[in-house]
């Protein structure tokens, strides 16, 4: 008897509680726009702790972009690196640089920014024991091999190439000539860090302090971050809104639904499944602009079957067998552009992008493609397997389309097949451990808008992201030559000469340039994406 009474009571109490809360809801803020000029925006959970030299993906990068300013900044429209905190960066020999920091800049906690703020931050970023995933950015600085050896323990704690001259000046010695090096300094990894970063690291991580147009007001890890305009920000790119509320979405479809329901102001990743409706839903409020991302098919040069004279022809033939315009139209709804070189349109003609550089080798031509592949001795192993990760990014669709295109050209339904790998981590570990013996999907998102960044880290012999282990002396020599060139135009054209070597060798097949896509609500205007496909938050205006 007693038991039954209890059950009944519990049920009644729960029902009452439920009804009560159901009635008393609906006023908890959050929503879109707002009188105080706050923009709400979708966000993903950053994969790594938010530290400048430890953040290598878009979600964390987004925050750093709002909270930090470095020596240089990339113009969101042209991609040109302009001085921000740097008064001047001078060099006579393209190897020894003198950096002068501007006066009048502070961190949002009032601490003055000096040459030390940079040198300490860079030393921290480079040191092996700090586990910074972007440490390799400091790899050009002299002494990097001591603080970050490939194996074993570090033998020094500071980069010998960095020297503080006075409060405003420091010198940098690179280990090789690199004329475009100052232009790399806009990357967040080179941001200055305040003293509290080193003295109270845990507190800093839970609420990072920087020197950008926004300060972090509230950060709930894994779910949301409120950024507010920093009124005393000394730069000329002050925030034009009151702040940004970043909200983590588990699924970008839900973010998109929230946008259409008027609960969210900005979605910077329109899900592929919604691309068909996006014009009808948003009209002009949909942005689709090029980003510094290129997608490619890579090959294993550690496998000797792919490293023969004949295989060059096979790769060129395969490239010609892929109908890029058709795939970008039908599968990607024009959110990708067929690639005809190995860089990206965001560089602009002056920066080194050259449409059509790859020429006929990257143009669909069924008859010639088949002939080339057969001349080269056919696909090694008789079948091309394209590996990709099946968990994110809907790669299956386009890999199948690429295979379909190749199969049609070869008149053989089994000439090319997709080979899915369960998770991204597993896919990456197979790539980096050289376990793949067919092709795999590869891609490169630029760190800074420089042609050097599209070529050297990916294709130079033993470069950090040269996963296929391609090596070519002629290419390497041209890259070295370009880096030593003090005239920028000359450097760019030499890099393009290096690209021409790639047309002849086809170490990876360029597929398409990826666009950034975003949508925004009627509450906000002046929304744009920069070359990294990150919204230019500080320029957004609230109606």
């Amino acid at each position: 008897m007693r038991g039954a009474t209890h059950v009944k009571w519990a049920a009644c109490a729960a029902a009452v509680a439920l009804a009560a809360t159901a009635c008393g809801g609906g006023d908890s803020g959050g929503g879109g726009g707002g009188a105080d000029g706050i923009v709400s925006s979708s966000w993903g959970d950053p994969q790594n702790p938010l530290e400048p030299a430890n953040t290598n993906e878009v979600q964390g990068g987004k925050v750093l972009d709002m909270v930090f300013r470095g020596l240089k900044k990339y113009d969101p429209k042209t991609g040109e690196a302009t001085n921000m905190l740097a008064e001047k960066i001078e060099s006579k020999d393209n190897q020894n640089f003198t950096v002068t920091v501007k006066d009048g800049w502070t961190f949002s906690n009032g601490e003055k920014i000096t040459a030390n703020s940079f040198v300490n931050a860079w030393n921290y970023g480079a040191l092996l024991k700090n586990n910074q995933k972007n440490a390799y950015f400091f790899g050009y600085i002299d002494g990097y091999d001591k603080v970050h050896p490939e194996t074993g323990k570090a033998t020094a704690t500071k980069l010998s190439g960095l020297k503080v001259v006075d409060d405003k000046t420091f010198t940098v010695k690179l280990s090789q000539k690199f004329s475009l090096w100052p232009d790399t300094l806009g990357y967040p990894a080179f941001a200055p860090l305040p003293k509290t970063f080193f003295t109270d690291h845990a507190a800093w991580l839970s609420k990072p302090i920087g020197n950008g147009p926004y300060t972090i007001d509230k950060y709930t890890k894994g779910s949301s971050m409120s950024l507010r305009k920093w009124d005393d920000y000394p730069g000329d790119d002050k925030a034009q809104n009151g702040g940004i509320d970043l909200k983590v979405y588990t699924d970008n479809n839900t973010a998109y639904t929230d946008l259409t329901a008027g609960n969210l102001d900005l979605v910077d990743d329109v899900p592929a499944s919604q691309l068909k409706n996006v014009k009808a839903d948003l009209g002009d409020r949909y942005i689709n602009t090029p980003a510094g991302i290129i997608q490619t098919l890579a090959f294993p040069f550690y496998d000797k079957n792919w490293n023969t004279a004949g295989a060059v022809k096979v790769r060129q033939g395969l490239s010609m067998a892929i109908n890029r315009p058709q795939i970008t139209d039908q599968i990607f709804q024009k959110t990708r552009t067929p690639a005809s070189d190995w860089t990206s349109p965001v560089l602009g003609a002056d920066g080194g992008f050259k449409k059509g550089l790859c020429g006929k080798e990257c143009t669909y031509n069924a008859a010639e493609a088949k002939k080339m592949i057969e001349d080269g001795g056919g696909i090694p192993g008789g079948q091309l397997k394209i590996s990709y990760n099946g968990d994110t990014g809907s790669h299956k669709e386009w890999v199948d389309a690429v295979c379909n295109s190749i199969n049609k050209v070869m008149g053989n339904n089994k000439a090319c097949v997709g080979a899915p790998v369960g998770t991204f981590a597993d896919f990456r570990s197979q790539v980096s451990q050289q376990k793949l013996h067919g092709a795999w999907r590869a891609g490169w998102q630029m760190d800074y808008p420089l042609i050097q960044n599209f070529l050297q880290p990916v294709y130079y012999t033993n470069a950090s992201s040269n996963d296929g282990k391609w090596n070519n002396k002629q290419f390497d020599d041209l890259v070295d030559k370009a880096n030593a060139e003090s005239d920028k135009a000359k450097a760019v054209s030499t890099f393009q000469d290096a690209e021409k070597v790639m047309v002849q060798q086809m170490p990876v097949i360029p597929l398409w340039y990826q666009n950034g896509s975003a949508g925004y609500s009627e509450n906000v205007t002046n929304v744009s994406l920069n070359q990294f496909s990150v919204p230019v938050y500080e320029q957004i205006k609230v109606k």
Partner: protein, 307 residues
């Protein structure tokens, strides 16, 4: 009774170790998680090696498991790749999912059992047929369809609710997601109760109670329902565990940052610390729920006794 509880608690120990070991092995089989940490580029080998040492991934699996279990008993569930403690993640995720589960269970109990009683007492009548058809429809539609449909209609078209739940996930925002999570089980609860009630209406004790002249309400609630609840309680009990772990789809649709979200994230990033930690707690919840169900039997029907 006391001995029975102790025996059951002891049985939990091998189950606990077995499940955690299995999950641990499964996550390990998926490959090297560090490789995915640097995006589409390769982590530089020195940093990768350093990270591997930090997360203990350079040791053999059995040693990793032993260290892990050793730490678990001191309350240390390890660190996720983004530098957060797993216990911290649990601290934010479990309350939300527990709230969602509670809402779902309340729906199951209130709506499911009342509908079951109503239809059980009116077997073959139009109400019964209507509810039977309705539950059949609910059972046959997958939850993600119900979820997306309700989200579109109530959230976007009519603006009754917000399509996504805010990070704090207050109870009132969880009502619709809770209903979605509960929907299929709710239909089963209805059907179970209905059958059980229909069967027992003809039982001797019901006839006796009616013959004694007891009011119908009392006969139905005290005599009929109480005896018919045993299969239903079993179902709801096991459902607690299933709801907590299985809300992944619904949590994704409504952007609820609960256990499902953390598990999904953990699996995608192959973060064995997160996955094993959360699954361990879920296993415990499952075991506890089952134990409570067994103990409830005795309360509902004193004839059932465990020695």
């Amino acid at each position: 009774m006391g001995r029975y509880v102790i025996r059951r608690l002891l049985q939990m120990i091998p189950v606990f170790f077995g499940t955690t070991l299995l999950i641990f092995l499964m996550v390990n089989v998926m490959g090297d998680p560090i490789a995915g940490l640097c995006g589409d580029r390769q982590c530089d080998p020195a940093t990768a090696a350093q990270l591997r040492t930090e997360f203990g991934l350079d040791k053999p699996v059995w040693q990793q498991y032993l260290t892990y279990m050793g730490n678990v008993f001191t309350g240390d569930f390890g660190t996720a790749f983004n530098g957060q403690k797993v216990t911290e993640l649990m601290g934010t995720a479990f309350p939300i999912t527990i709230r969602l589960t509670l809402v779902a269970i309340v729906f199951e109990i209130v709506i499911g059992i009342s509908l079951g009683v109503v239809t059980g007492l009116r077997r073959g009548r139009p109400v019964d047929t209507a509810v039977l058809i309705l539950t059949l429809v609910v059972i046959s539609i997958p939850t993600f369809v119900t979820g997306l449909l309700l989200q579109l209609l109530l959230g976007v078209e009519w603006g009754v609710i917000k399509p996504s739940v805010s990070p704090e996930a207050p109870l009132n925002e969880l009502i619709i997601p809770g209903l979605v999570v509960a929907s299929v089980s709710l239909a089963y609860v209805t059907r179970l109760t209905r059958t059980s009630i229909a069967e027992n209406t003809r039982a001797d004790y019901v006839r006796t109670a009616t013959a004694k002249g007891l009011p119908r309400r009392r006969v139905v609630i005290r005599h009929l329902l109480r005896n018919s609840l045993i299969p239903v309680v079993t179902f709801i009990g096991t459902d607690v565990g299933a709801l907590m772990g299985g809300a992944i789809v619904t949590e994704r649709i409504f952007n609820i940052h609960g256990v499902g979200y953390q598990l999904y994230q953990g699996i995608l990033r192959q973060n064995s610390q997160t996955v094993v930690g959360f699954v361990t707690v879920l296993v415990l919840v499952f075991l506890a729920a089952n134990l409570i169900v067994d103990l409830l039997y005795a309360v509902l029907d004193p004839r059932i006794r465990y020695a």
